[in-house]
Symmetry: C2
Subunit: 323 residues, 2 copies
């Protein structure tokens, strides 16, 4: 498979079979209070309960188990601000191979702890795309490890797409679907899978206003690389990948941009009403639904909550200790 | 039924049938990391996902639907620092009757909001047992409403006991069970149900060291009323009820006391590993398992997480806002 191509419904189904014995079939939660607020029936796909605490395990696991034995023996390498890194480390552990993870300075400590706990070798670099890629190439040359890109990789997108297979089976009445968009691995994989099963299903992607390169790129008709991310959503700072953007365009995914304040308010609603720990990045999906109610009124909406790896000492709203 | 008597397995089964169309069958969650920490297989019964965000809905719902029509028409009244109050308000709403809730000054704001949202009439009083009971009696006289005591009530205990029926069906291999103990409605109901199904099952109750009247009462052989509660666990400050204490003794429930620091550390573990919002009070159960590992080594342990109504602006550890 050409890693820069897009997955198909067949490769997504293959991925589902490949990861079945390793990944969790995550539950779908509901809340009367949030339904009332949105004027729609909301179905939250809880990937915070996924192995490693985020959906990223699906794509990483599919990539690791797609390798032939000779390649696998040399291990895998990636660059990631956190969740993909720990996911790849966990996935490599399921196959007993080495994982190298290049992490930018400034990544969330809870996520670095997870990577280290999963047994990966950490390689630090400066917090920009060029430094990440250069360090990953260096490790590749040194070790022979196979690069598993966080999102611009057909194996990874296929793994993320398995979420749509699961969610549509869990909630057959779904008539709209929202994911966050950062690099676009999830948004692309879900779009391809969802439209294979349900052609014409309205698809949305929630993007922070401070990292709105996907929205701008779709509007401009080509990939905009000049956006300097400035958002509290640490999982959504990556620029959308070229193949990912292509999939979003092809599947008419509508991007809804939300401010950090809207996202933080949505995160509090998720914590308070669903009683679950969800990362700030994935609260963008609820923020988007509440911001554009006319798109969702009366619909059965699937919202992918992507992860729950939160630094409990640094919540976005701050708190005072109990008396 | 004499409200000061104890429920039986029959009245607990009746309660399960009575509340079935109103209450949630809550999920059981697991964590490899927490299992490793405890040296046991931990099964968390997640009552934070119960209607109203706490197990209290079960007992309140059973009490409300146990009333005959003439009594029900006059409404119900209770005194509660929070979760039982909102549970009774929600339960009353399912039958379309009035609920009056006496709340002590200083109760958690998130819980008061829930009570008000459910449509109950709030009556404030001083934060002590005598003031709570006096105000509840006053409302009873004024309105004719039926008192539904938070824990020393056989209907309420029967409702709480349904948790054990569910959990033993969900995890048939269970060989130990831990609940928190405050007033003892949950601990008593669960003990009676669990021992009817599994005689001899080791039962434990986790109690804050700063409100250890159940531990002291069991040790002394009579109810100690002189404990002035001093604990962060707002849901466990009540003195254990007389019938509740009787059930704990009869079923050889072993009380494990834990400090607030141990409980707060356990709460962080639950949030971080299970990715759910659990109240500080219910983290006592994990604190107890980690404090007395010799009691649980290698066992399949059921832990009842009682609720998730947390004031997100006042976490017990405090946090600094994200940069």
């Amino acid at each position: 498979m050409n890693q820069h191509a897009l997955p198909t419904i067949e490769t997504i189904r293959d991925a589902a079979a490949r990861i079945a014995s390793h990944a969790v079939v995550t539950p779908v939660l509901r809340s009367d209070a949030l339904d009332a607020l949105a004027g729609a029936q909301l179905h939250f796909k809880c990937e915070n309960f996924q192995r490693g605490g985020a959906f990223k395990f699906r794509g990483a696991c599919n990539a690791v188990w797609s390798l032939d034995d000779a390649d696998a023996r040399l291990g895998v390498v990636t660059h990631s601000s956190g969740n993909h890194g720990s996911a790849l480390a966990l996935a490599a552990a399921t196959r007993g191979i080495a994982a190298h993870v290049v992490v930018p300075e400034g990544a969330v400590q809870a996520k670095l702890d997870l990577i280290a706990r999963a047994g990966a070798v950490l390689h630090r670099c400066a917090p920009n795309q060029a430094a990440r890629e250069a360090m990953a190439e260096h490790v590749q040359r040194d070790t022979g490890a196979v690069l598993v890109h966080p999102y611009a990789d057909a194996r990874v997108m296929a793994g993320q797409g398995t979420i749509a297979l699961e969610l549509l089976a869990q909630v057959p009445t779904l008539d709209a679907l929202v994911t966050p968009v950062g690099g676009g691995g999830l948004a692309a994989g879900v779009a391809i899978a969802a439209h294979a099963l349900r052609p014409g299903l309205p698809l949305f992607a929630a993007e922070p206003a401070g990292a709105d390169d996907a929205a701008r790129s779709l509007a401009a008709g080509h990939r905009i690389e000049s956006v300097a991310p400035d958002t509290v959503c640490d999982g959504l700072r990556a620029l959308v990948g070229e193949p990912n953007l292509h999939a979003l365009r092809e599947h008419a995914v509508e991007v809804i941009t939300v401010t950090d304040a809207e996202t933080i308010a949505a995160m509090r609603l998720i914590w308070g009403e669903l009683k679950i720990i969800a990362e700030v990045s994935c609260a963008t999906v609820l923020a988007a639904v509440l911001k554009a109610p006319e798109r969702f009124a009366g619909r059965h909406v699937g919202l992918v909550l992507t992860g729950g790896n939160v630094d409990l000492d640094a919540l976005p709203w701050g708190t005072t200790p109990h008396p």
